[in-house]
Symmetry: C2
């Protein structure tokens, strides 16, 4: 599997395919095709076949894909054939909404702990999690081997917290703070900022 | 400005540039360069110069870019030299967190109204908004000319609500529901699903 050569934009579409396959599974559908997936996702069937072909041969011409088999393979490729413990830093309104979000279940992740630096919040509940003191972040990450974090702190605090996370061993950060953070090349960062998405759309509106 | 020819992936980077420029403005910085922007964003300076060159000539070789001028131009290009009213449908935990999010201010959008179908929620507050009855969505959209919506309803309701939005005239939808929705080609959809981003990162983790 020549993983390192696959363009990141292709990697970015695989989770969409996996999500659509999970919906098909929930619907009791056992066989799908690139046409069928493409119609659900608004992506051309040729693109889907080309993307999947980078990772191997998952279906036969004319017979389509087994939903279960393709799901299993995509989970292996995306490394969600396991459950990653994820820490959440920042227990404000957004952090609490993320902590209570039900959408992680069965998709490869579970929130393991929630942190904040505010003495008013530490010890209280965020969803089902007792909010922990972020002064313990570094040692907790090292002790538990956490590799993945979500950042729901204010923009002004994002870089300082990121530095702690990276120093302690985190290698993938989902940043909800509306700012860019600097990380070394071995660390992945993805951003969730609704305005970035809105601007990408209003570009196309007259 | 040959807008229709610019690849969408380039369009997707412009909001990152604009966000970085806003941070520079806040820091009192007046001049920047593709190197400087690139270091903040983890994007190569060559890529930034190539992206911007698709829209015109915004700086001079050796003297860099005026932060204010480049911001103004990017706002025009992304159509956020105005304020778009945005409706939010779904006033659960996530919808209320989005309704209370302070990050829209000065970035081209304001939440105009919040809707839900739950009689227990209608009339209550979500942030500073009184939650409206979603049975009025279609007529409200038509009357006010809303073009942009955010969808924070459960996955099972996403397509039905999308159909109403599109029929009434919405042309850009930011979907927080963890599912894909079908829309006609004249409608833009972007998705915010943290798991999609997490999976894109854990692909790279051993």
């Amino acid at each position: 599997m020549p993983a390192s050569k696959v363009p990141d934009i292709v990697v970015g579409r695989l989770p969409l395919y996996l999500r659509a396959l999970a919906e098909m599974t929930a619907e009791g559908k056992e066989i799908t095709s690139s046409q069928d997936l493409g119609e659900r996702l608004g992506i051309s069937s040729a693109q889907i076949r080309k993307d999947l072909s980078q990772f191997g041969e998952f279906g036969k011409q004319g017979t389509g894909y087994s939903v279960e088999y393709l799901s299993t393979k995509l989970k292996e490729i995306l490394h969600v054939d396991r459950i990653w413990p994820v820490i959440l830093v920042g227990a404000g309104d957004l952090g609490r909404a993320v902590a209570g979000y039900g959408g992680f279940v069965n998709r490869g992740y579970r929130i393991a702990a929630v942190y904040d630096s505010d003495p008013e919040k530490i010890g209280r509940l965020a969803g089902k999690f007792t909010i922990l003191n972020s002064t313990n972040l570094e040692q907790d990450i090292q002790r538990n081997g956490y590799r993945v974090a979500m950042l729901t702190v204010p923009a002004a605090k994002a870089q300082a917290v990121t530095d702690v996370l990276v120093r302690a061993g985190v290698r993938a950060i989902l940043c909800y703070a509306p700012t860019s953070v600097s990380v070394p090349p071995e660390v992945q960062v993805q951003y969730i900022d609704p305005v970035l998405h809105l601007q990408r759309m209003t570009y196309y509106l007259k």
